[in-house]
């Protein structure tokens, strides 16, 4: 199994955590994995990108136009990071706007669940897992979130992930 995934968002939207869960899922499945994260000043609300490479890679960066999957926490980021997704790849986008991608109102679903806005990240992840565009089954990610999230955030995290999963089922995923 080889898959390259980018996670694009704004600092504070939880891109690093989302990336971490994808990496942990690969580890749980016994596959070699490399991820790359944005730290420092850009985390203060600036455009950020994280990368996940599952399978036999050496470097942590995904070349432009080579990602199999793009998870976009902010639709506007398609302008700067959309081109990372290869032709034939899949972009899953947190948005209410229709477009040439798999859109999901992750923020709206998170707020409707009474969750904080940042929970949109796990709604988006649940949706992508439910649409079966990721290297791993939804159960693997759910297991990772269940076992690794600190107890006080665990239930909310699982609810956010579950909301995304349910939305994917409704969408026919």
């Amino acid at each position: 199994m080889r898959q390259q995934i980018i996670v694009s968002g704004l600092g504070g939207q939880g891109a690093v955590t989302l990336t971490r869960w994808l990496g942990e899922a690969a580890l749980a499945l016994g596959w070699p994995v490399l991820t790359s994260e944005t730290h420092g000043m850009a985390q203060r609300g600036g455009t950020v990108i994280s990368m996940v490479k599952v399978g036999g890679y050496h470097g942590p960066l995904i070349p432009w136009g080579a990602a199999d999957v793009g998870l976009f926490l902010a639709r506007d980021n398609l302008r700067v990071h959309g081109g990372y997704v290869r032709p034939g790849g899949v972009a899953v986008v947190n948005t209410v706007e229709p477009g040439p991608y798999q859109g999901i109102d992750a923020l709206g679903l998170a707020l409707a669940q009474g969750l904080k806005p940042v929970a949109a990240n796990l709604v988006l992840l649940g949706y992508a897992a439910g649409r079966r565009v990721l290297f791993c089954a939804a159960e693997v990610l759910e297991g990772v979130i269940r076992s690794m999230t600190p107890p006080r955030f665990r239930e909310d995290s699982l609810r956010a992930f579950g909301a995304g999963l349910a939305a994917a089922r409704e969408a026919g995923g």
């Binding site: 704004l10 600092g11 504070g12 939880g14 955590t17 990336t19 971490r20 990496g23 942990e24 690969a26 580890l27 749980a28 070699p32 994995v33 490399l34 991820t35 790359s36 994260e37 944005t38 730290h39 420092g40 000043m41 850009a42 203060r44 609300g45 600036g46 455009t47 890679y57 050496h58 470097g59 942590p60 960066l61 995904i62 070349p63 432009w64 136009g65 080579a66 506007d76 980021n77 302008r79 700067v80 990071h81 081109g83 990372y84 923020l107 707020l111 904080k116 929970a119 990240n121 796990l122 076992s147 690794m148 999230t149 600190p150 107890p151 006080r152 955030f153 909310d156 995290s157 956010a160």
Partner: protein
């Protein structure tokens, strides 16, 4: 969710031979596994997570050690060095510009050496992503004559930390481990090891000819250092890895180091050239493995060197058959991403350059968080002193540049010295403009104190606003000396700002809640008057508000904020206050609150010239 996964719960998943570790976590873990008994650091991206990983690994494994967030990198270096002068293992971690701060002890440490093991972790930031320079710490190692190891990924960073400590002990010299951002902030499945307990009580053997060497003795120490380096250059363990080609490019080879080697291997695979050209991966860029150096000089007519960020290996190999960043075959600045390497490697091998464009620039610029206490201070500075000069410093508050209240950002502590320098420059001509330096609390402790004493002593006249958010926010909320707790969560003796500032000779000191704009504005005016009075000098204001990303900040009172119909649509709040919690409502032609972003700090109430922003408690 914004909850960071805890390493404690990671352990609860079950006993796995490998863990998904950040490069920095792999390094921190390795230091504990290798029996380091003192680790010191000052936070700075991309090195900040190393010390926290030391603390976590020590807690998890029960290893006994002293870990500290030192006041700055020089102090961290010297503290750790002394531990390694007692026959014990020690490590110090910093970012590349931190090594500039520690350069003084670093250079001398090479001559005097150590009796235990001493690993200097200096993390470089090619790009740069979060630094004021793109400098190469390997060049510092070369200049100081300290061996340096260059890991390509987190797994190797872990392994090299241990090998570096052993090398240090074998030869009695400090050894540098030089990861880069893409190693520090990459995660990988990394094997865990057992903790080695070395059980070495501190034993400092007096030897003034060494530890207090006078210039007359230094020459001999320098000679001995060169003998040590010659021996290290023959250590087979640190010879480059060789990936042989299939002979289709005789006379050509690629020499690569660090994460540039990792990306080059991926790009060669993409070009279907993997295993076709001789490929050497350098593990120790200084000193270069001497037998290898001789071999490649004899064997190859064209040698392409790929390394970040500077041409350290290339310059040592010399011009002529060697090409790289210095010779121009590789861009001389910036990161060697796969997109950059693709045409470089294709060109070197005479392959068709594959189609492909580079990532687009742009995106959203970083900004102070909604509710950040710094924002109101910068706003008040601009409003009170429209013609002021605003030297500033390194931290989240550098983002005050967005509010036009940060005119300079140079290096740690420079804002205060620059404020004094601006004063002396203008005062020479008579009148001087309002000069207001801003600096964060952690940065003030780091390098601001000598600058302040110097400014007071030389009768400079300016305002200094210390933006006290009670933490080192930008790098992940490490405690400052004002907080009475160490990196290991142990009680410490707090050193409070007001007493410290008064002890620097400052005669005007006020403390203010940073959210209280009317009071802050009044104090700024008063401070300016003091500054210009006959007995005036440096006026210091401590503007306090806890960082909103800390637990204390999270608990603060939240107002329900709204923009009323009296908004005249002047956009003053949007342009001069720059808070993402405020947005323009096109349909109504006025400003509005973004309820998702707004944290209800209520500071913008003081900003609206029309009084159209209201806040009520209980939002």
């Amino acid at each position: 969710m914004n909850s960071q996964p805890s390493s404690a719960s990671a352990g609860a998943v079950g006993l796995r031979p490998e863990r998904l570790l950040l490069g920095n976590e792999a390094i921190g873990r390795a230091l504990v596994e290798c029996g380091v008994t003192l680790a010191a650091s000052y936070p700075g991206t991309p090195a900040s997570e190393i010390l926290a990983a030391v603390v976590a690994a020590a807690k998890e494994t029960g290893a006994e050690l002293h870990a500290e967030w030192s006041i700055n990198e020089k102090v961290a270096f010297e503290t750790a060095l002394a531990n390694a002068m007692c026959g014990r293992r020690a490590a110090v971690a910093m970012k590349q510009v931190g090594l500039n701060v520690a350069a003084d002890p670093f250079f001398r440490a090479a001559y005097l050496g150590v009796t235990g093991g001493f690993l200097v972790v200096a993390a470089d930031d090619p790009g740069p992503h979060s630094s004021q320079t793109e400098q190469d710490s390997r060049l510092m190692a070369l200049a100081a004559q300290v061996p340096v190891l260059d890991p390509m990924d987190p797994r190797e960073a872990r392994e090299m930390a241990g090998r570096g400590l052993e090398l240090s002990e074998r030869h009695g010299v400090p050894v540098m481990l030089r990861p880069t951002t893409r190693v520090c902030h990459a995660r990988q499945n990394v094997p865990l090891g057992e903790v080695v307990s070395l059980d070495r009580p501190a034993r400092f053997v007096k030897d003034p000819g060494r530890w207090a060497a006078t210039p007359a003795l230094v020459r001999e120490l320098h000679r001995r250092l060169q003998d040590k380096l010659a021996a290290i250059a023959r250590e087979a363990e640190f010879a480059p890895d060789f990936l042989p080609g299939d002979g289709r490019w005789p006379g050509k080879c690629i020499v690569a180091s660090g994460v540039a080697a990792a990306h080059a291997l991926d790009v060669l695979a993409e070009l279907n050239a993997w295993g076709q050209v001789d490929f050497y991966r350098v593990k120790m860029p200084f000193p270069l493995h001497q037998p290898w150096e001789e071999r490649i000089r004899q064997h190859y007519q064209e040698i392409l060197v790929l390394e970040e960020p500077g041409p350290v290996i290339e310059l040592q190999l010399g011009a002529g058959r060697v090409t790289g960043r210095a010779a121009g075959a590789v861009p001389g600045y910036g990161e060697l991403t796969p997109e950059i390497l693709r045409p470089v490697l294709a060109g070197f091998l005479g392959l068709a350059v594959p189609e492909g464009s580079a990532p687009a620039a742009g995106g959203v610029r970083p900004s102070l968080c909604a509710g950040c206490g710094h924002r109101g201070v910068f706003y008040a500075l601009r409003e009170t002193f429209p013609h002021g000069i605003f030297p500033s410093d390194i931290g989240c508050y550098t983002l005050g540049v967005n509010l036009q209240a940060v005119d300079t950002c140079h290096c740690m502590g420079a804002g205060i010295s620059q404020a004094a320098g601006f004063y002396h420059a203008y005062a020479a001509g008579g009148d001087f403009p309002p000069i207001v330096a801003t600096i964060g609390d952690s940065t003030f402790y780091h390098a601001g104190i000598p600058a302040l004493i110097n400014a007071v002593f030389h009768r400079a006249r300016f305002l200094l606003v210390i933006l006290d958010n009670q933490t080192t926010a930008m790098t992940g909320h490490q405690p400052t000396p004002a907080v009475g707790v160490t990196a290991q969560g142990r009680p410490a003796t707090p050193v409070a700002l007001p007493e410290l500032i008064q002890a620097c000779g400052v005669k005007f000191l006020r403390e203010v809640e940073a959210y209280d704009l009317p009071e802050l504005t009044r104090i700024l005016t008063e401070a300016d008057q003091f500054c210009r009075s006959p007995e005036g000098g440096v006026a210091v204001i401590i503007a306090r508000h806890p960082c909103l990303l800390t637990p204390e900040g999270q608990r603060q009172l939240r107002y329900r904020v709204r923009v009323t119909e009296t908004c005249v649509g002047c956009r003053h709040c949007l342009e001069a206050f720059e808070c993402r919690g405020l947005r323009w409502e096109e349909s109504e032609g006025r400003a509005a609150i973004d309820p998702v972003v707004c944290v209800g700090c209520g500071v913008c109430v003081h900003v609206c010239p029309a009084g159209a922003i209201e806040a009520e408690a209980g939002g």
